[in-house]
């Protein structure tokens, strides 16, 4: 059976997602593929076991609006796309916008060079308390800038005695494959 991809402009995405929601569709997934023009995004919606797909092309230096205002649970896929592909997804619902900290990977992602990747900032604002877990009521101390340490190091790492040199090392070897 032929499956249709409905070509959609990035600017129309939210409106179309809102219409699907109003019509009782469930969002089943968001797919991201690296293509020569940038990113090919596919948003799938299901009703009565029939799936409809919206296709959005985003240039390499572009970004796309989050659909979490319509489908809150899309935050899982939008954060994944940001973390693994480096595509900026704008205005993810603030309580679930991880700013690059959703996938806790040993090797920094994305595995290719990006024009405007959102850097992993302090998404989960916690202050590490030695030996006693984490206390949310204590405001995190501003980390003192150290020479030679990447400015984008996550705040959770700031509490550690030695700064993690991995982001700097990753910058030295940015290109390692596609997606």
């Amino acid at each position: 059976m032929k499956q249709e991809m409905i070509q959609t402009e990035a600017s129309e995405l939210l409106g179309k997602a809102a219409r699907y929601k109003k019509d009782g569709y469930r969002m089943t997934q968001i797919l991201c593929t690296r293509i020569s023009e940038g990113y090919e995004l596919t948003y799938s919606f299901d009703k009565d076991y029939v799936m409809e797909n919206l296709r959005v092309i985003v240039p390499l230096d572009g970004s796309v609006m989050s659909v979490t205002s319509q489908y809150w649970y899309a935050f899982v896929w939008e954060n994944e796309i940001h973390d693994l592909f480096g595509l900026n997804v704008e205005f993810i619902a603030p309580e679930v916008d991880y700013h690059g900290k959703f996938f806790q990977l040993a090797k920094p992602m994305p595995w290719h060079e990006l024009a405007n990747a959102k850097q992993p900032a302090a998404a989960i604002k916690v202050n590490l308390r030695p030996g006693l877990g984490v206390d949310a009521s204590v405001k995190p101390a501003a980390p003192a800038p150290k020479p030679g340490v990447a400015a984008a190091a996550p705040k959770a790492d700031a509490a550690k005695p030695a700064a993690n040199p991995k982001p700097a090392a990753a910058a030295a070897h940015p290109a390692e494959g596609g997606n």
């Binding site: 896929w77 990977l105 984490v134 596609g178």
Partner: protein, 361 residues
């Protein structure tokens, strides 16, 4: 009310067989907010499709997860078959259904054991896993492996199950049914289990719909969502299928749905054996996948999984994507944990039956 405190839960925790991390924001003993993060077992398996031939990649797809192994092999094969417009022999579809339901029995019994262990029922845990051995023996007898089946391929299946073996499997499943009665009686009637699971982690029908949950998690809140009702393939359309539902939406309902699905899977397998068509088990696959794309879905033990493949007229696919059931159930887990007691967190997490290997690929 005391001050707000964040407790890190996982990635290493006695109740979690796989690593997931949650920051639990607590006020006294109540969870106010749960913030999940994943990525501890991300292996980049989707990316590997660019380096392996499209036929060879079935083995990789099966290794996404050790529990839903067969379903992933089937989902991937079905997606490539859709891409290449291949018609699969009826007997292969029935054999796939049998193995898929055996896989569901394996998964649900494994979950029941883990659930019993988390509740402190050590001997119930051992009984569940002892019973599961029968299933593993059937897998070994029919496929040669005990966890990874490696029988599904693009175009059909690699092995047939002789009719005599099928009859013998039905006899073993009848015996297994009686043993399942024993564990189900404890799960469904024990007062301690009721006290720990009833009214805990409750999610309403509306919340399930709003949060896009799938599988037994959705069905336990009365949402009749099961892709075996859709275009799953296999023998489901021929045999007729009605999903197991509960309405309470709590941890107990999720446990009950899985236990009742054990009986349903046995009935489906018996239906397949009784109506098994004769004929080939595979069709020849010629050429490479065309420059096109295809989506397909499979109802895994934990819920609906979405498979996507994109071909480019070479032996390697350009893209493979898998949206797993746990991936869809993370959002509802966050909702379930809001307002629960800290002591209930492990049980709530377990009742969505999270599979982190699947989720991270």
């Amino acid at each position: 009310m005391g001050k707000s405190t964040i407790i890190p839960f996982g990635p290493q925790h006695p109740v979690l067989p796989e690593p997931i991390h949650l920051d639990l924001e607590l006020k006294d003993e109540k969870v106010v907010k749960a913030i999940p993060s994943i990525g501890y077992v991300h292996r980049g398996l989707e990316k590997l499709v660019e380096k392996r031939g499209f036929q060879e990649y079935v083995y990789v797809a099966e290794r996404v997860c050790g529990i839903c192994s067969f379903g992933h092999g089937w989902g991937y094969s079905k997606a490539v078959e859709g891409l290449m417009e291949l018609e699969i022999p009826k007997r292969a579809e029935y054999l796939r259904t049998i193995w898929h339901e055996i896989s569901r029995l394996h998964s649900h019994l494994l979950w029941a054991g883990l659930g019993a262990d988390a509740l402190g029922f050590e001997s119930l845990f051992m009984q569940c896993w002892r019973i599961r051995e029968t299933i593993l023996d059937i897998i070994e007898q029919t496929t040669g492996g005990r966890v990874i089946f490696s029988v599904c391929k693009v175009g059909g299946v690699r092995r047939d199950i002789p009719d005599n073996d099928l009859k013998e499997i039905v006899k073993r499943l009848d015996k297994l049914k009686k043993e399942i009665d024993g564990i189900a009686a404890v799960f469904l009637n024990d007062e301690t289990i009721h006290a720990r699971l009833k009214g805990v982690g409750t999610v309403s029908y509306d919340d399930i719909v709003a949060l896009g949950a799938v599988g037994p998690t959705a069905r336990a809140s009365g949402v009749p969502q099961d892709y075996r009702l859709g275009d799953e393939g296999g023998a489901y359309k021929d045999l007729g299928f009605t999903p197991v539902l509960a309405t309470e939406g709590d941890c107990f309902a999720r446990a009950k749905v899985r236990l009742l699905e054990l009986y349903q899977s046995i009935d489906i397998i018996k239906g397949c054996v009784e109506n098994m068509p004769a004929g080939d088990i595979a069709v020849p696959v010629k050429g490479f996948p065309p420059a096109a794309e295809h989506f397909t879905r499979v109802e895994q033990p934990r819920g609906e999984a979405v498979y996507y493949v994109k071909g480019n007229k070479t032996k390697n696919l350009e893209r493979f994507r898998l949206r797993t059931p746990t991936n869809a159930n993370i959002a509802v887990l966050v909702k379930m944990l809001q307002g629960c007691d800290l002591a209930d967190v492990p049980n709530i997490i377990l009742t969505i039956d999270p599979c982190i290997s699947c989720c991270e690929r």
